[in-house]
């Protein structure tokens, strides 16, 4: 058994792994290094309840600081690892020290993809934000003043959640999306137009098929004043008090690639979370793993994946082999409406809806070869659990019965 496990990145996956090792009875040394000032915390509320002021800071922490010490997990916040020396099996934090490992786990997550516009490179703008960390939210909060105009670039889940919180906080919101519809990479048109509708009802404005052409800055070049864009070639200028960029994530893979490990849309690992170096593992948002569900490789960005991947890595480190059979799932919350998504709908052939779109309680099932490969469940939590089972069982279903609310979902997999 390894003597000393070093985990780089104290986020959802890293924190879960440290705890998981102790739960499994690991007796060696665990060193958890994170570059943020906080112990591992939940990111989902950052764009939901925490931004709205309904979830307190202490409730974001996955475990109180005291728990790590009590279970003999050495946690060092504010410690950024700069390099890995594979030959001496050491990592070097910024302070120049060297920390030895027997097994190293990279749980470095990712960072918000920056807006790339000519002339903006390297410019730090006081009212241009993205949301990945607590400090990002704290920086943005000051601009959350009723009446302010927030321009959101990117119509993914994070952008939409922030839009919901912002209008509920009295801001005016315009959301710009490059694709012709919202959430186009992760959901079908039925759900996209539903989401657009619930936001429009609350006063969010949209510019779809929208190309951002530039940001207009103040004279000191410290603040954004306006955003210039074009929708279907028609130019427009929007005034902005603050701008949020939510255009995706770049996995933090630089440490791995500098150490000569394979990186391809994430740090490449096998089904046991191991890289090609048997002493180095990678988990969570930063890792690209084989998926039993898709049969190919995927990099997922979700809490359930971070937890599951940490479980796989803990087993590996305990000398067991327990690959994951988990089905990807994700949730979102907009205006108190619960959205739960399971599976990946890419490549679906048919979408069957069940329930009432009108009453904001419906599910959309994505079918391929008569099997449910994914589902979006809106305001019907009981169906979510049943949908999860349909996706994992891969059973053939009858589309007509699936769409009929009178037929219990549990009885549909024949």
């Amino acid at each position: 058994m390894a003597e000393r496990i070093v985990i780089v990145g104290a986020g959802q996956a890293g924190g879960e792994l440290a705890a998981g090792l102790r739960k499994q009875g690991y007796k060696g040394h665990i060193l958890l290094l994170g570059d943020e000032a906080h112990p591992p915390y939940q990111r989902p509320p950052l764009s939901k309840g925490f931004l709205l002021g309904k979830v307190a800071l202490s409730d974001l922490y996955l475990k109180p600081l005291e728990t790590y010490a009590r279970f003999d997990i050495e946690f060092k916040p504010g410690t950024r690892v700069e390099a890995i020396d594979r030959s001496s099996r050491e990592v070097s934090p910024r302070d120049g020290s060297r920390l030895a490992y027997d097994k190293l786990v990279l749980a470095t997550g990712g960072r918000a993809r920056p807006l790339s516009l000519p002339g903006l490179e390297g410019t730090r703008l006081e009212n241009l934000f993205s949301i990945r960390s607590l400090s990002d939210v704290e920086a943005m909060r000051g601009g959350f003043i009723p009446g302010n105009h927030l321009v959101i670039i990117g119509g993914g889940y994070v952008g939409l959640e922030v839009a919901a919180v912002a209008v509920q906080s009295g801001l005016r919101v315009t959301l710009l999306e490059a694709a012709p519809r919202l959430l186009s990479r992760v959901t079908g048109p039925e759900v996209s137009s539903f989401i657009e509708r619930i936001h429009r009802e609350r006063g969010v404005e949209f510019r779809l098929s929208c190309e951002v052409r530039g940001l207009e800055l103040d004279e000191a070049r410290r603040q954004v004043r306006g955003v210039s864009l074009a929708c279907h070639g028609v130019p427009e200028r929007l005034e902005a008090d603050l701008v949020l960029v939510g255009i995706g994530l770049i996995p933090n893979t630089e440490l791995a690639s500098a150490a000569g490990l394979a990186v391809q849309n994430g740090i490449v690992v096998d089904e046991y979370a191991c890289t090609a170096d048997p002493d180095i593992l990678a988990i969570g948002d930063c890792a690209n793993q084989p998926s039993a569900y898709t049969g190919g490789r995927i990099r997922l960005e979700s809490v359930p994946n971070a937890i599951e991947h940490a479980r796989v890595a803990a087993a590996t480190l305990m000398g067991k082999r327990e690959p994951s059979a988990a089905i990807p799932w994700f949730w979102s919350d907009q205006y108190g409406l619960k959205l739960q998504m399971v599976g990946l709908s890419t490549g679906y052939e048919q979408c069957v809806t069940r329930g009432s779109v009108e009453h904001k309680e419906f599910s959309a099932f994505y079918l391929k070869d008569r099997r449910v490969i994914a589902a979006d469940v809106i305001g019907r939590p009981a169906e979510f659990m049943a949908a999860k089972r349909l996706v994992s069982s891969r059973a053939e279903v009858d589309a007509t019965r699936l769409g009929d609310v009178a037929v219990p979902l549990n009885s549909i997999a024949a």
């Binding site: 705890a19 102790r22 739960k23 499994q24 939940q42 989902p44 509320p45 996955l62 475990k63 109180p64 728990t67 279970f71 809490v303 359930p304 937890i307 988990a326 949730w331 919350d333 619960k338 739960q340 019907r380 939590p381 009981a382 169906e383 979510f384 659990m385 049943a386 089972r389 549990n410």
Partner: protein, 108 residues
């Protein structure tokens, strides 16, 4: 301090000190009790914090709301005394409560 005892499916017991106001799920996480996964972080969206509340305490906690009931309905290994532990707030009345954990939070 309120004491809560979690019993894993294999019989292993974990007695923990829970703080008033936190959820029973959080008390389990803070004390590294195996068997509570809590993927959604306590928002009644995942049913991976599922536990069975012993009879004597069932009447001391408010009944599940509609959202919890809906999630429980289709969770794994459901029994009549199944609850989502993230939806139960710790109060002094719960001192000594026993929560048994299912064989699995994520599988049949």
């Amino acid at each position: 301090m309120t004491k809560i005892k979690f019993i894993e499916a294999d019989g292993k017991e974990h007695e923990v000190e829970a703080q008033e106001g936190q959820s029973v799920m959080q008390a389990a996480l803070n004390n590294l009790v195996p068997g509570i996964v809590a993927e959604c972080g306590g928002f009644a969206s995942c049913a991976t914090c599922h536990g069975y509340v012993d009879e004597a305490w069932r009447t001391k906690i408010p009944p599940p709301d509609a959202a919890e009931e809906a999630m429980i309905e289709c969770a794994f290994h459901v029994q009549p005394n199944s609850r989502l532990t993230c939806q139960i707030k710790v109060t002094p009345a719960l001192d000594g409560m026993v929560v048994r954990l299912p064989v699995s939070q994520t599988n049949e």
